[in-house]
């Protein structure tokens, strides 16, 4: 009896998911998903919304650029944190780490945003960016002038995003490294391998799937972050960023920051619906791929992740 009675209740999440997709599809009316939409054009004529034209290209580039750069940093750091706390540290500092990452995970994204905007930005503009330009200026992306609106731009967004996704990736990676069967680890140690050799040859290869899904889930989180990015990325210029210091924009942060326009211009409203759909599809695909790798989970990693 319970089985058929329960099924509809168990499917509440699926129903909500379906509703979100259906409503966005209906709202967009599947209008102009043509070539212009996927292009790089952006021309907004104030007051004359029908004369405006736009493409999602720049926004997608901004999204993938910030998300992948922050993911590279976050992966390196959380891998180090995870290995350190699972393999090298005694239990007490390990617990301390999970406490700190829990606290970091709990800090609201708008608080990261205002911290980045007010506190970090001057440091980036006056110290970090000039020295990066001096040292790494010959690398593509690191040379060139600062943006004319100030220190708010890609690099700051990448930095803030990195800190924001570290708690999630660290929790997932710790879980992956911890779930490596003890026999394998002990077999490695027993034949005389050092802890590091066991990490290299046993733990990392065995936990590979879990680690990859941690990376992907972190990527999904970074893609979808809107508030903090909207606050620090500048977002004024709708053009491909010439270098890392330039202001650009992302799909999520653009949707978030365009409330006023969506209220006034019907065309922009539809555009934002379509942006939401694209973002939704990208996020779902990233998540589905991540879930294929392991049974590590996004939702409970967030709530219970570093809880041990």
């Amino acid at each position: 009896m319970g089985a058929w009675l329960g099924s509809p209740v168990a499917l509440i999440p699926l129903l909500i998911l379906g509703a979100v997709v259906a409503v966005l599809l209906i709202a967009s009316g599947l209008k102009d998903f043509g070539l212009t939409f996927w292009g790089f054009q952006y021309r907004f004529v104030p007051g004359e919304p029908d004369a405006s034209s736009w493409g999602i290209g720049v926004f997608l580039v901004g999204t993938f650029l910030t998300a992948s750069l922050s993911l590279v940093l976050a992966t390196a750091l959380s891998l180090a944190l995870a290995i350190s706390s699972v393999v090298y540290l005694p239990p007490l500092p390990g617990r301390l780490l999970s406490m700190v990452t829990n606290l970091l995970a709990g800090i609201p994204s708008v608080v990261y945003g205002i911290w980045g905007f007010v506190v970090l930005a001057p440091y980036f503009g006056l110290t970090l960016e000039p020295s990066l330009r001096d040292v790494l200026g010959w690398l593509p992306g690191f040379g060139g002038p600062a943006s004319d609106i100030g220190p708010w731009g890609t690099l700051l967004a990448v930095f803030v995003l990195t800190i924001m996704i570290i708690p999630l990736t660290t929790a997932l990676m710790r879980e992956a490294l911890r779930s490596v069967p003890r026999d394998l680890v002990e077999a490695g140690l027993a034949v005389g391998a050092t802890r590091w050799e066991v990490v290299r040859r046993v733990r990392l290869p065995v936990a590979r799937n879990g680690l990859w899904s941690a990376v992907l889930l972190g990527f999904g989180r970074a893609l979808g972050e809107s508030v903090a990015v909207a606050m620090v990325i500048g977002g004024t210029s709708i053009a491909l960023p010439p270098n890392l210091y330039a202001s650009t924009t992302t799909v999520a942060s653009f949707i978030f920051s365009q409330l006023d326009s969506a209220l006034i211009y019907p065309n922009l409203f539809v555009l934002l619906v379509e942006f939401s759909l694209v973002l939704l599809v990208v996020a779902v695909v990233v998540n589905l791929v991540a879930q294929r790798f392991t049974r590590v989970e996004l939702a409970t990693a967030t709530t219970l992740g570093g809880g041990e």
Binding site: G2, G6, A10, L11, G106, V110, L304
Partner: protein, 299 residues
């Protein structure tokens, strides 16, 4: 060269290669520790700066007054946040916990798999997409305009997958021995759930609900497009409302000289940090204590 291995004297007999490997292992251990700076520095820097901006201008009036012109306090936002989070937790708690119970206990395997996958996919949907969905479905389509109710519903949708998945996991992890013992003694499924599974799963479900609450408290993205904004405390669910995260978003880019907008934003940020950290610590302590009481069950 003498290598301190920490492993005792026996290693003085080992070859140079072995020593190099052990040394390398130690060095890596220390190098990896550097990454700790990446989490400790931002946490303390952020909390320190937010406090230093917020505290000098904070007073009792910050909590009890409405925002007036470019000054005043956060009362309307605090009240709005309370109403929204109550609505959200109510909705997400009711739906999420029941969906979790059914998925863990009653659903056939195929339904289980689909429900869990859907829950995790839902958790991965960017909050802003949910917000924009709410804007179309609950603000425009219903002709409600911006309402506290719409904000609460979307906040509930945002929080739901976390509560759902945590409840499901908590119940699925109840040791099978407990279930078998209970059923063998002749209890019905409901009796088993109420008397055996729920008490064991409770600390985890509790943790999930409160973490979801902390997440919901800190989100602005589901709310700006649904709850709207109002500078007076909300009186009915069908009115728009302000909320703490919205306050930060509204005031963060005003220069310091412009009234006390920036101070208000930092005060709201400080308040949010305090609330979220308090929830974190309370949950940790309570669920640890509860778990310790149940520790015997798992042996």
């Amino acid at each position: 060269m003498k290598v301190t291995t920490g492993l005792g004297d026996e290693l003085t007999h080992t070859s140079g290669r072995m020593r190099r490997r052990i040394l390398f292992d130690r060095v890596i251990g220390w190098v990896l520790l550097l990454a700790f700076a990446a989490v400790f520095f931002p946490l303390f820097d952020l909390i320190g700066w937010v406090a230093s901006y917020a505290l000098p201008t904070m007073s009792w009036a910050t909590l009890t007054q409405n925002q007036v012109g470019t000054g005043g306090g956060l009362y309307a936002m605090i009240w709005g946040t309370l109403v929204l989070i109550t609505l959200g937790t109510g909705i997400a708690g009711a739906l999420g916990i029941s969906a979790g119970f059914y998925t863990a206990e009653f659903a056939p395997p195929a339904v289980k798999r689909i429900a869990r996958l859907a829950g995790n996919v839902l958790a991965g949907i960017p909050a802003i997409v949910l917000g924009y969905f709410g804007y179309y479905a609950l603000v425009l389509y219903t002709h409600w305009g911006f309402t506290t109710l719409a904000g609460g519903i979307i906040l509930g949708v945002f929080m739901l997958p976390y509560i759902f998945r945590t409840t499901d996991i908590a119940l699925s992890n109840v040791p099978p021995s407990q279930r078998e013992a209970s059923l063998a003694l002749g209890s019905s499924r409901l009796q088993y759930l109420r008397r055996v599974a729920f008490p064991i799963a409770f600390p985890t479900i509790f943790t999930g609900v409160f973490f979801a609450m902390a997440l919901g408290l800190g989100e602005a993205a589901p709310l700006v497009y649904t709850a709207g904004w109002s500078s007076t405390p909300v009186q009915s669910l069908m009115q728009p409302t302000s909320f703490l995260t919205g306050g930060i978003w509204a005031f963060y880019d005003f220069p310091r000289s412009f009234g006390s907008f920036l101070a208000l934003a930092f005060q709201a940020a400080f308040l949010l940090i305090v609330i979220v950290l308090a929830i974190n610590i309370v949950v940790q302590v309570l669920s640890d204590r509860y778990r310790r009481r149940l520790a015997g069950l798992y042996e």
